[in-house]
């Protein structure tokens, strides 16, 4: 049997995830400071957000995390077909999340609330900051969802070709770790932008 360093592979992935936490952490810091300075305006701007779509997307991402975790436990048991189905379900749920995001963003853009729009610039400073942060933070998060979907789709192909199997699944496990971090970031984005008080 060839030598494999599972601990090393996972440690490397966790270190990468720490840089992701710091990337979003910096944006959360900016959000926290501007929210503190413009509390009332953030509150008003937050009313533009649809709690229903936000909650729906939260449920979708949480469920996709479940299917991701199950796809790994199934491949460990040697259940290739089941693992493939759970991976496909994860890709599908990620895609549904993005479709919701598309409708949400196009609704804001139709109302003229997009970066640098005349309508937005006519609003108060705090509201401009709120929408700026909203677009940057959910936008970079959505980019991570797109990357996650692409990597899981690639893992699907590797599983089909038996390159990921009960005896060698660390690639799928690391992909799962990335997908869960994307979920965790959304867990924080949801109350900060949709449930703002």
């Amino acid at each position: 049997m060839e030598h494999r360093d599972y601990i090393g592979a996972k440690l490397g992935m966790w270190l990468f995830l720490f840089t992701e936490i710091l990337l979003f952490g910096g944006m959360f810091l900016v959000y926290a400071e501007y929210r503190d300075l413009h509390a009332a305006e953030f509150h008003d701007a937050g009313k533009e957000m649809s709690v229903v779509i936000g909650a729906l997307n939260t449920v979708i991402l949480l469920t996709s995390s479940l299917t991701m975790a199950l796809s790994i436990s199934e491949i460990k048991r040697g259940m290739k077909i089941r693992s493939l189905l759970f991976q496909a379900a994860t890709v599908l749920l990620g895609a549904v999340f993005l479709v919701n995001k598309y409708f949400e963003w196009s609704d804001h853009i139709r109302k003229g609330l997009y970066p640098n729009s005349p309508e937005l610039l006519a609003l108060s400073h705090g509201k401009v900051l709120f929408f700026g942060l909203y677009y940057v933070m959910t936008g970079i998060h959505a980019l991570h969802v797109i990357i996650g979907i692409s990597v899981i789709a690639f893992m699907l192909v590797l599983t089909l070709r038996n390159r990921i199997s009960a005896s060698d699944y660390v690639k799928l496990e690391n992909t799962g770790l990335f997908w869960h971090i994307v979920d965790i970031i959304w867990i924080y984005l949801f109350p900060l932008f949709y449930l703002i008080l």
Binding site: Y6, E33, S65, H180, I187, P191, L197
Partner: protein, 94 residues
């Protein structure tokens, strides 16, 4: 293969984690509607952190990893906490 990496978590554990996450999502929406004033922000961040911990502990297998992984996670969390804490110290007491 090391036994800590080959631990297979049961389907039941994952489904139970998922149900708990959905309950917390409902709870955070209720907490936001309750007009708790200053406390609502704290309540929502606390609930989000509880959800994040569940994902880390069970979905990301941290429960079954060696101590090094658990310890390392504190590095970015502590870094962010210190940066945000010091920023607010400056913001509020300047």
């Amino acid at each position: 293969m090391d036994e800590s990496t080959s631990h297979t978590v049961g389907t039941k554990t994952f489904v139970a984690t998922w149900i708990a996450l959905l309950c917390f999502t409902g709870l955070t929406i209720v907490a936001a509607r309750m007009q708790l004033g200053q406390w609502s922000m704290i309540a929502n961040i606390a609930i989000a952190s509880a959800k994040a911990s569940l994902v880390l502990w069970f979905f990301m297998h941290l429960k079954y990893e060696r101590r090094l992984f658990k310890f390392l996670l504190f590095v970015p969390i502590l870094t962010i906490s210190v940066i945000i804490g010091l920023t607010f110290f400056d913001l509020w007491y300047r």
